[in-house]
């Protein structure tokens, strides 16, 4: 079974994000980390591959930089990676991203594609659905539980007040939520092995795509801001201030 996991390298969320003047594109440093939300997809992929004599291929689009984020995912146990990088892909919107990923995935072949529900830095939240449409397969999204049997996949799909059971035949795309599985930590051996694992870098010509996004950010302004009000230290009586405010607001 061929499992492909979409992973994104992002600037470390613990550092302040900076935007390029004029385009408002996110400035991506050399050293990017694996998007935390994609660790769940990698773990899911590894578990499914382990149970089904499969392989796990990572696919990523974006500037490689030091490649540290990709190595993180390889160190968890994925077999190899495909990294699509091209200057013309800078500032790509979700559709351009999905087209690049889909082209690489189609070229590689797949039974199951796994993605996250939304990326931490872009959170357009539609790349997996676009991928599924481009690949002509179902998108099983918002998955909180995933079961793969011979030729079929069943998930729990989050709904506003619970979940639906959704079933489809493979091949398919599944988009997993954080918490779907507990991601493993790379072992020392995993980290050493990752250094030797192949990272392919196909060109846009190899993939038969060109990049064009028509969405632009025109401006960024400060939002009308909400300011904090009164702050009090609890001296054992702070609950009374809450009661008072609730009375004032006619909640009680």
């Amino acid at each position: 079974m061929k499992v492909v996991v979409c992973v994104k390298q992002i600037p470390d969320p613990a550092t302040p994000y900076t935007l390029e003047e004029g385009t408002y594109w996110l400035i991506r440093p050399e050293a990017q980390v694996l998007d935390d939300g994609d660790r769940y997809g990698v773990e899911m992929g590894l578990q499914i591959a382990e149970k089904n004599q499969g392989t796990v291929t990572l696919v990523s689009m974006g500037p490689s930089g030091s490649g540290q984020g990709i190595r993180q995912a390889l160190a968890m146990g994925a077999d190899k990676a495909i990294l699509i990088e091209d200057p013309s892909l800078r500032g790509s919107d979700a559709l351009t991203t999905a087209r690049a990923l889909a082209a690489a995935i189609e070229r590689e072949g797949f039974d199951l594609v796994i993605a996250g529900t939304e990326s931490t830095d872009g959170y357009s939240g539609v790349v997996p659905q676009m991928l599924a449409e481009l690949l002509g397969v179902p998108a099983l999204t918002f998955a909180t539980q995933v079961e793969v049997a011979t030729g079929t996949i069943t998930i729990h799909r989050q709904t506003a007040d619970g979940y639906d059971l959704v079933e489809a035949t493979l091949p398919a795309v599944v988009a997993v939520t954080a918490g779907v599985v507990e991601p493993r930590y790379p072992t020392f051996k995993g980290i050493m092995d990752a250094k030797k694992k192949p990272i392919e870098d196909p060109s846009l010509v190899d993939l038969g795509i060109d990049a064009s996004s028509d969405q632009k950010v025109a401006s960024i302004v400060d939002a009308p801001s909400r300011t904090g009000g009164r702050k009090i230290e609890d001296d054992g009586e702070a609950h009374l201030a809450i009661v008072e405010l609730l009375e004032e607001r006619k909640v009680i």
Partner: protein
């Protein structure tokens, strides 16, 4: 006049609130056609909220996204609407993504406002926890826009019953999936998205048992209970209670945050509450920057006293 398609999901026996919010905006932008997902009940309400036509899409037990996106794409090709509005919600996102890929156009996600300007679209997006607003533009239509819940206020304007017709859903073959069952979490008290008062807890509660205090306080106030992603991921409470960027957007009269740091992904979901009360032991917690009343203290001391004071009344 612009032509606007609006996706509305049926919730219970009537259009969802999110759908009616979208209509409040859509009717100011042009002539409105609703794509109505579900059994097709209460279409009159859609008319009262400004729809002049309704296309009924009932996929039954088929997962809606693939067939509905295919059907909308056909209509888009023949009718050429300027704009397709959907909500930032599960099925909406699935349909928007597939539809965009089919039509070869982009999706503007997470918009909080929208304007049509000389054949282009302009959308506003709250970024960095709502501290900044980015305005995006796109000139290649049809524009597909996902609007965050609570961006507009649903209001009936008393329009006539709309013309209704069935939207045929094509067989999308290998892209089909089936819904084989459904499970709803038990819920006490009002719905999180609609409640006038919301009491939410975060990791600062320390344990799943301590969430009992949140439930008790909510009961006393007739409030809905909410949570941060941290404690949803930890399995303390079901996802249906998550407030924030990837959970629900709430706009209650009063929001009480207990043991919540105030990460930007949480703030975007609740910072528009009329009054915010926060309890956190860290005086520098970001939640205090939006709180009308901030109590620097231990939830294990403040909450029990608050609950006791309220039950003594």
């Amino acid at each position: 006049m612009a032509s606007v398609f609006v996706f509305v999901e049926q919730d219970g026996d009537r259009p969802s609130n999110l759908g009616l919010e979208l209509l409040a905006k859509a009717r100011t932008l042009g002539e409105v056609t609703v794509i109505y997902l579900g059994k097709g009940e209460s279409t009159n309400l859609l008319g009262e909220h400004g729809a002049s036509r309704v296309l009924l899409a009932d996929p039954g037990s088929r997962l809606p996204a693939a067939p509905v996106a295919a059907a909308i794409a056909e209509r888009v090709t023949s009718e050429k609407p300027d704009l397709i509005l959907l909500g930032q919600a599960y099925t909406d996102r699935d349909i928007a993504g597939r539809l965009a890929a089919r039509l070869g156009v982009g999706v503007l996600s997470n918009a909080s406002d929208i304007r049509l300007v000389d054949g282009s679209v302009e959308t506003d997006h709250e970024i960095l926890g709502g501290s900044m607003i980015a305005t995006a533009t796109s000139s290649m239509g049809p524009f597909i826009v996902l609007i965050r819940p609570k961006s507009f206020v649903a209001e009936a304007i008393g329009g006539p019953a709309p013309a209704a017709e069935t939207l045929e859903l094509p067989d999308t073959g290998p892209a089909e999936a089936t819904i084989t069952g459904s499970h709803a979490e038990e819920r006490e008290g009002p719905q999180l998205g609609e409640a006038a008062v919301v009491v939410s807890g975060g990791r600062g509660l320390g344990s799943v048992e301590a969430y009992g205090m949140i439930e008790q306080l909510a009961k006393q106030l007739g409030a809905a209970t909410g949570a941060t992603r941290a404690i949803v991921d930890a399995g303390w409470v079901p996802y249906a209670k998550q407030v924030g960027q990837t959970g629900k957007t709430v706009k209650p009269d009063v929001y009480i945050a207990a043991g919540i740091s105030g990460a930007m992904q949480h703030l975007v979901g609740m910072k528009d509450a009329k009054t915010i009360i926060a309890i956190n032991k860290d005086p520098d917690a970001p939640i205090f920057s939006v709180a009308d009343l901030g109590v620097v203290g231990d939830v294990h001391k403040v909450l029990p006293k608050l609950i006791e004071a309220l039950s003594a009344r």
